[in-house]
């Protein structure tokens, strides 16, 4: 697996990182990545120090020193891993198609927005509208979640360690012991993440968002 490390330089404005997905960086040299334009006038080299280790097909991208200004990390990623060793801005893992995204810090608003597949694991807090319009996949949050959790969420699983704010469009389905969590937790154990420490199969389940399709679930680990 090739490993690309993007160490953020101090910034005073929002940085749109959607061009830095694993599939976009796959096979590129540090110089090629540094030359990628994040906007018409902003190149990667201006806001990140780039290091590339290995050149295999599967790609792991690690963001370091990031903060709430770094938006759209892992946007539309289709494979590989993205590790955010810091906080993340808005739209973390938005429109994810597959792969694993681990955020060691807090995430901004709309994490996992329109996510379709894969795993997005946030070890810190998640901002407002987490999992908005999410279509499928697994989104885990170990910290607190903000307002309008799962707004418009269609399918998929929101796995929470802390109780969310109650919402009218999410229906409480009671307490359960779900065997599939065994398999999910086994996959967590392969990751360098605090999620590897989860073991409880007992969860409270809500289904929603009943304002839409209503086939998504929130599982609160007990």
């Amino acid at each position: 697996m090739s490993h690309i490390t993007l160490t953020a330089k101090p910034v005073s404005r929002q940085i749109d990182c959607r061009a830095l997905s694993p599939q976009a960086l796959q096979g590129k040299t540090a110089a090629e990545i540094s030359a990628i334009k994040l906007t018409k006038t902003l190149a990667v080299a201006e806001v990140f120090e780039v290091a590339v280790d290995g050149s295999d097909a599967a790609t792991k991208v690690t963001f370091k020193n990031t903060n709430a200004q770094h938006a759209y990390m892992g946007f539309g990623m289709t494979a590989g891993q993205v590790i955010v060793e810091g906080d993340a801005g808005d739209f973390l893992g938005a429109q994810m198609q597959n792969g694993v995204l681990i955020c060691k810090g807090n995430a901004g608003a709309r994490a996992g927005d329109r996510m379709r597949r894969g795993m997005l694991l946030i070890e810190g807090n998640a901002g407002d509208y987490c999992a908005s319009d999410m279509m499928a996949g697994t989104l885990g949050v170990l910290g607190n979640t903000g307002a309008q959790l799962g707004y418009g969420m269609k399918r998929g699983t929101l796995l929470l360690a802390k109780a969310p704010a109650l919402q009218a469009t999410w229906i409480d389905c009671g307490m359960h012991k779900l065997p599939f969590l065994n398999i999910l937790y086994k996959s967590f154990k392969l990751l360098d993440s605090r999620f590897a420490g989860i073991s409880s199969l007992r969860v409270r389940r809500w289904m929603g968002d009943m304002g839409g399709l209503g086939k998504a679930e929130i599982l609160l680990i007990q």
């Binding site: 499928a136 996949g137 065997p179 599939f180 392969l190 086939k215």
Partner: protein
């Protein structure tokens, strides 16, 4: 060839190409894993009447199962892929879905993947949930969570289908029914130590070996009269006057080698009781060698020339 006073006939077992699959069944504990597996492999002794031949291969520890619960692995064999797929779906629906706490997972990888829970998911009436989760090798596996009255039924979407062999066999001939059955029990115990094989008949043993054809036009198989002790003297019997009972062990496996190795262990265990305990001969069932694609010759197998 003689082992412990038991004569080994210079003959062979005639076996056929089949399609096989393996399913891992887990449950809250082994009792319920066996309940599910016994139901799934029930009425699966012969493709002639059951469509599929199946059996429990072995127990699985918590470390060996995808969901970390105790379980058993099951092998199913059929004469063709279509029948195997039909039988697997039916048995999944009637035996595993219905069994409290049971879950089912793929037990074999193959280019040919067949439905395990792919169609069964519709039992969820729209409330079924798909989860794609990577396994230890990072390969994405799709599971279906189907709401049922005891909680959730969990099943993997597909399992692998492979080319396999069915119909390996040997006959144990002895002086009494009780002694032959004891020898067969010892053989089955020995054969169950090997992976990739199952002995699909009740307890692994069949007493009603058949021949092709019958005096009745509608019957395509009938009793193997040459090996029926009570017909000695009436038909062209294969039995000498001392033989009062014959039983057969049929073994299906994933490869020729799997079957040969288990047959060797089984025959040696049966011969372990020896002539002194009434075991006289070991023979095998065949159709003259013209029907089956695989011939398991007893003497080469026992001498270690074939494995």
């Amino acid at each position: 060839m003689v082992i412990n006073g038991v004569e080994i006939d210079d003959t062979f077992a005639e076996a056929f190409n089949m399609r096989g699959t393996r399913v891992l069944i887990t449950a809250q504990n082994l009792r319920w894993a066996y309940n599910a597996a016994n139901a799934m492999t029930g009425f699966a002794t012969s493709v002639i009447g059951c469509g599929v031949e199946a059996g429990i291969e072995r127990e699985l520890t918590e470390d060996e199962t995808p969901d970390g619960r105790p379980g058993v692995s099951v092998l199913l064999f059929a004469m063709g892929s279509k029948v195997l797929m039909q039988q697997l779906e039916t048995r999944m629906g009637q035996c595993i879905l219905t069994c409290p706490t049971a879950a089912a997972f793929a037990g074999i990888e193959s280019e040919d993947m067949i439905s395990l829970g792919k169609h069964l998911r519709f039992f969820g009436d729209g409330y079924q949930v798909s989860k794609q989760i990577p396994d230890a090798q990072g390969r994405l596996k799709r599971y279906w969570r189907i709401p049922v009255m005891d909680g959730e039924f969990l099943t993997e979407e597909t399992t692998g289908m492979v080319r396999a062999i069915g119909g390996g066999n040997f006959l144990v001939l002895g002086t009494s029914q009780a002694q032959v059955l004891t020898a067969c029990e010892a053989a089955i115990d020995a054969m169950r130590q090997f992976p990739n094989v199952v002995m699909p008949f009740p307890g692994g043993v069949v007493r009603s070996g058949s021949k092709v054809g019958s005096k009745y036009p509608k019957m395509f198989a009938s009793t193997n009269d040459a090996f029926c002790p009570t017909l000695k003297g009436v038909v062209k019997s294969e039995l000498d006057p001392r033989v009062e009972s014959v039983m057969e062990i049929v073994v299906n496996g994933l490869t020729f080698s799997d079957i040969a190795v288990s047959m060797k262990a089984g025959i040696e265990a049966a011969c372990g009781l020896g002539k002194d305990n009434g075991i006289l001969r070991i023979s095998a069932g065949n159709y003259g060698g013209k029907l089956g694609q695989h011939h398991f010759k007893l003497r080469p197998i026992l001498s270690g020339e074939v494995a």
